[in-house]
Symmetry: C2
Subunit: 189 residues, 2 copies
């Protein structure tokens, strides 16, 4: 039997995306967003949703470019901080000591210390309600060169991405591998 919890966005997992932009004076900013995900394979696109009140919203509307940076577990403090404080008030790169690197492909910085950086150009802006959704077309995906690949697949166990749980607002690690996709399902039918 089921119980009703009301109209809540109660889905798991949500990602921990650190979104980096430049403001109109060229200052780098970083904010954390868990509302987002991949939204198209061709062109390769990722969506992130932000409130209009954020500093990043204004930067995105102006620059039409951003990067998505995936923090590893050992940057959970920085990821959480980026989501708590506004770039209107603080220089978040100075406070954390993390390094913004100017992308050569889009007008946005990425975070040197994070294992994955995705460089995006804004393709669509969709007003939904409290949040505005930005659909970014991926120009390039970069990973730390210390991360070994299996075939051409980066190894998630080395990336150690964070998972965010809505409602409880806790961060989790990636757990054990359970099964191979597009494979275990063949046991049915």
């Amino acid at each position: 039997m089921k119980k009703s919890l009301g109209a809540k966005t109660l889905v798991y997992p949500t990602p921990v995306f650190v979104i980096c932009t430049y403001d109109n004076e060229g200052n780098p900013n970083a904010m954390t967003a868990a509302w987002g995900g991949i939204c198209c394979s061709s062109p390769p696109c990722i969506a992130v949703s932000l409130r209009k009140a954020t500093y990043t919203y204004g930067n995105l509307m102006e620059k039409k470019a951003f990067t998505i940076n995936i923090p590893s577990e050992n940057y959970v403090r920085e990821a959480d901080y980026f989501g708590m404080v506004s770039g209107k008030k603080e220089d978040k790169f100075a406070k954390t000591g993390l390094t913004p690197v100017k992308s050569e492909l889009v007008d946005a910085p990425y975070i040197s210390e994070f294992p994955i950086n995705i460089e995006c150009k804004v393709l669509h802006v969709i007003e939904i309600g409290l949040h505005t959704q930005f659909i970014g077309e991926v120009m390039d995906a970069k990973i730390d060169e210390t991360i070994q690949e299996k075939g051409d697949q980066p190894i998630i166990e080395q990336i150690k991405p964070l998972i965010f749980a809505p409602e409880s607002r806790n961060y989790y690690a990636i757990g054990k591998q359970i099964a191979q996709g597009f494979s275990i399902g063949t046991e049915i039918g």
Copy 2:
């Protein structure tokens, strides 16, 4: 130092959403989508992206309603199967033995055996490219009544949601809790 992998949607984690719809004869269908995520808090909305070739695409365009069902780890076979086979060819509920329950709020079924069911009405349809994005407004979130809550927060360790890794296409479990959000970040600044 970073190495470039090209224009890929290389972000972790992605969810395992099982999307349920009715076709125009009232037959229930289920498909698995990893391209999606929360996109707005108010109204509460979740986005899922599907290829036009899927059976679910036609159902969604017709019914403007769907449910998102979160499988627990022990349903990884069914979740994978739902993503491999088209509802045009097979009755996936019959094959898996899972139980479709008619939602009282939207014109779509949900899966009785899965721990979380989110009932949605289609609010926006956004053509991006290979994938079309459906933004669904959440009408209700239901959880299995055996899942305990801490305060009003369902306990993710009991839900045991799946995580999907793009590129390698492996399924993972949720790992250990690392930190409390909107808390650990206060250690900075």
